[in-house]
Subunit: 274 residues, 2 copies
């Protein structure tokens, strides 16, 4: 990871290698922050509006002060310009500010695109399933900085020789991966867990629903046991950074490689270039 | 809240009103931090050893670099001296550091004791129950900075006119409050949820078990439905900051006021003065 640029609301562009967050910021002390990760292609943040909408929604669910999207959008532009990097990843953080004299603050971090993505796409992801039970209704679907469980799950998956975790709900129902949504295909139907399960409504998931429909697939959103995924003709994940990423195994059970993931990845790239 | 002093490992005492945390610290970005809250009486941090032990355990469960307790202890002493306040609250944070060149870092924040504690103790807490279902085994019992759910629960409780939330597990089983443990009494028996439920092993909870036994109470740790608590002869919470705090209602159902909470609070204060 290289942190290419950092912008803070009220302070503008600041040195990314100097401390920028107050130690009593509520996002640091208690994970009371909302965030978004946006892929940037050719200098343009892809689907920024949708990400800002979700940031607003997450802030509301987290009981944070409301997000005013326009200054955040300007901060993103400034940070991108400061980075000088047209193909990169922008992370937007929204915090309520300090405990004393709280002032809501946006942080925009620009980083490089992870170097191993195309290698990973060619090989396909190995997933390790982690039973997490029910998603609490209070914060289901919210993109908060309280991500410790997600990170421990990824760490556990890596210790088991996999690339990423796959969260399962009560009864072995497929939920999502820690930082992406999950999909699989049987014939011309693409299956993906329903948002009613409290999973995150991925921005890329939303676009892939559209792209898939245009490509002639049916999209079925529902409550599916893990066996549906492992018996599929192919499987993949979707997220802003990794885009459409094939899955080739879950818990060492191999999953076939198909062509839908590649088609959708091409469709997504066409959209992002448009 | 007043932030009286701030100390950072490798940097010593720093200005509490200047940014001190890097924007790409993993604790800020993803809630990957462990923390402890310690009450300080007469300049002495109460039960600091137990808190440092738990910090080490939380760091291990969160897959953070191991905590070396001695430098952290020295940092606590320095921060307390810098604060000039003998009766206060120390918060210790342990983070893995930045994404780039990660260096594990301890932050020690000294704050004033909340001003409303004795008023609250005299009146007694109103609790509002929040069903959270199962606690995920991966992070149950870990004190991490991924506290958004806890904070939203407190906010929800306050909107409903209560002081604090009470987490219930599947089937209405009593778990804990967002920042304290829960207790109630029938005759000479004190009931408190078992740590097997994945709740936090409160340092104050541990001491209160000892104090209660010395005072002649039996302590029963188990899996209890909410009805056991609401039908109790008295109820209270325990935590480092609020100590022993009577509960006078759950979801508007009044709970009797008894003398055990007061006895235990006196016992705790005697210990802390010893």
């Amino acid at each position: 990871v290289t942190l290419l640029a950092l912008a803070v609301s009220g302070r503008g562009i600041v040195d990314p290698d100097a401390p920028a967050v107050f130690a009593d910021d509520e996002a640091f002390l208690r994970g009371r922050g909302a965030f978004e990760t946006v892929r940037v292609y050719g200098g343009r943040p892809f689907l920024l509006d949708a990400h800002l909408d979700r940031l607003e929604a997450s802030a509301a669910r987290l009981r944070l002060p409301p997000v005013d999207p326009e200054p955040v959008r300007a901060l993103v532009e400034d940070a991108l310009e400061a980075s000088g990097e047209p193909d990169c990843v922008v992370r937007i953080y929204w915090t309520p500010g300090r405990e004393v004299d709280p002032e809501p603050t946006a942080y925009v971090l620009v980083r490089d695109v992870p170097g191993d993505l195309e290698e990973l796409r060619a090989r396909g992801l190995l997933l390790f399933s982690v039973l997490v039970g029910e998603v609490s209704g209070l914060l289901g679907g919210v993109k908060s900085t309280s991500y410790a469980l997600n990170m421990v799950a990824v760490d556990e998956a890596r210790r088991r020789g996999a690339d990423d975790a796959l969260f399962l709900g009560s009864g072995g129902v497929v939920l999502e991966c820690p930082t992406s949504n999950t999909w699989w295909r049987r014939d011309q139907t693409l299956f993906t867990p329903s948002l009613d399960l409290g999973i995150l409504a991925g921005v890329t998931r939303g676009v892939v629903v559209e792209v898939a429909t245009e490509l002639g697939y049916e999209v079925a959103e529902g409550v599916y046991p893990i066996e549906n995924l492992t018996a599929a003709e192919e499987a993949f994940t979707t997220s802003s950074v990794r885009e459409v990423m094939p899955v080739v195994a879950v818990d060492d059970r191999p999953i076939a490689v198909g062509s839908a993931a590649k088609e959708l990845q091409t469709g997504l790239r066409l959209l992002s270039a448009g």
